[in-house]
Symmetry: C2
Subunit: 216 residues, 2 copies
């Protein structure tokens, strides 16, 4: 099958999601790297009317929305299924995917961006966003611990799309002072270790992707 | 199979989603109506750590997140499938579900709540939220028109989970002055008419649900 072309800014957790899915499936892909700050150009708005990333292109089929993209990659490529067949396990996967979008991303990205990305680019650090993120991020982490329970992965014994979405958002979080405090002693730290041991997570490491894009 | 018990506040578009799915599937269900303003009680937080609605209970299995719930209902009950089997059509369904959550709900609920619900309950009308919602709601409506194209439903010839999520959010919108203006001449008006002709949409009419809850 032809490769998936992923349009997006390297370093974005949302762009990392389809890359993770392609790596897990062994699906061919190419990252068409967009420079930082180009998501609202007319060229990109023609691909994505909301001016967000990622967008994929596959054999003439264009698709945006990270959740829809990784489900599509899982469905059309051979390789290990990233969706549990048991309806209750599949429901947990879908639930965690929803939680990541609605409850994890806003506070965790707010804290991660201001503690890690902003200083890296010399941008102002918004302490108010950080402070406001602590309580909702804590609630989200506790809810995910409860859903993880004693399972190795979020939806059971095998990695699923939920794990891919979550690691993309949570990978940098323990490196922030707020994240370190919230996650101290959390069962999610063991889960992060398991995810980081996967070749998919290593191949899509944020620093590595950003460095590769700068070389290209 | 045992009925699905849906915990939620009648009138909420998110609570309407599982009801619509159960109606379409012919699945037995019961709405365990919660009074307005009770989503942050200890009792409800034990069911839903983020204090939102709906939550379902099915044969001892508890689940929150509307998207995960309607996928579960579609999967475990017999009746017409609400998920297209073709991968590209399924991707469109998932894409529209993501668009509804990320881009439709925030501005459309902001406008709908302040123009319709707030006056009904004598609450203050937040004109700033309304004004801020006009541009993003317009972008979302135009994007959905493009995805609908000449199809009768959002993901093709049959109704899918995407249509159910979208009608729950969009049903009241044309009744607001801002919604009427944005949707004037829109192909989505024909889609709304098709959806309103469905018994599932009629059975879960917001006014009807609210009246039934007050009688109970």
């Amino acid at each position: 099958m032809s490769p998936i072309i992923v349009h997006g800014v390297p370093g974005s957790p949302y762009v990392r999601m389809p890359l993770l899915a392609c790596e897990e499936k062994g699906a061919p892909y190419r990252l068409a790297a967009m420079p930082f700050g180009t998501t609202k150009t007319p060229e990109h708005l023609a691909r994505h009317p909301f001016g967000r990333i990622p967008v994929i292109e596959h054999e003439g089929f264009w698709l945006y929305e990270a959740d829809a993209i990784i489900r599509y990659v899982d469905q059309v490529f051979p390789g290990p299924s990233l969706t549990p067949s048991d309806p209750k396990a599949q429901a947990r996967m879908n639930q965690v995917m929803g939680i990541v979008d609605c409850y994890v991303a806003p506070p965790v990205l707010g804290i991660g961006f201001n503690r890690i990305v902003a200083p890296m680019f010399g941008l102002p650090v918004d302490e108010e966003t950080i402070a406001k993120g602590v309580e909702p991020a804590t609630v989200a982490v506790r809810a995910l611990e409860k859903l993880l329970g004693n399972q190795p992965y979020m939806a059971g014994n095998s990695v699923s799309l939920a794990d891919l979405m979550l690691i993309a958002q949570l990978d940098m979080f323990p490196a922030t002072p707020e994240g370190a405090k919230i996650m101290k002693g959390s069962s999610l730290l063991g889960w992060i270790d398991r995810m980081r041991a996967r070749p998919s997570v290593q191949a899509t490491d944020t620093q590595k992707l950003m460095a590769a894009a700068q070389r290209a």
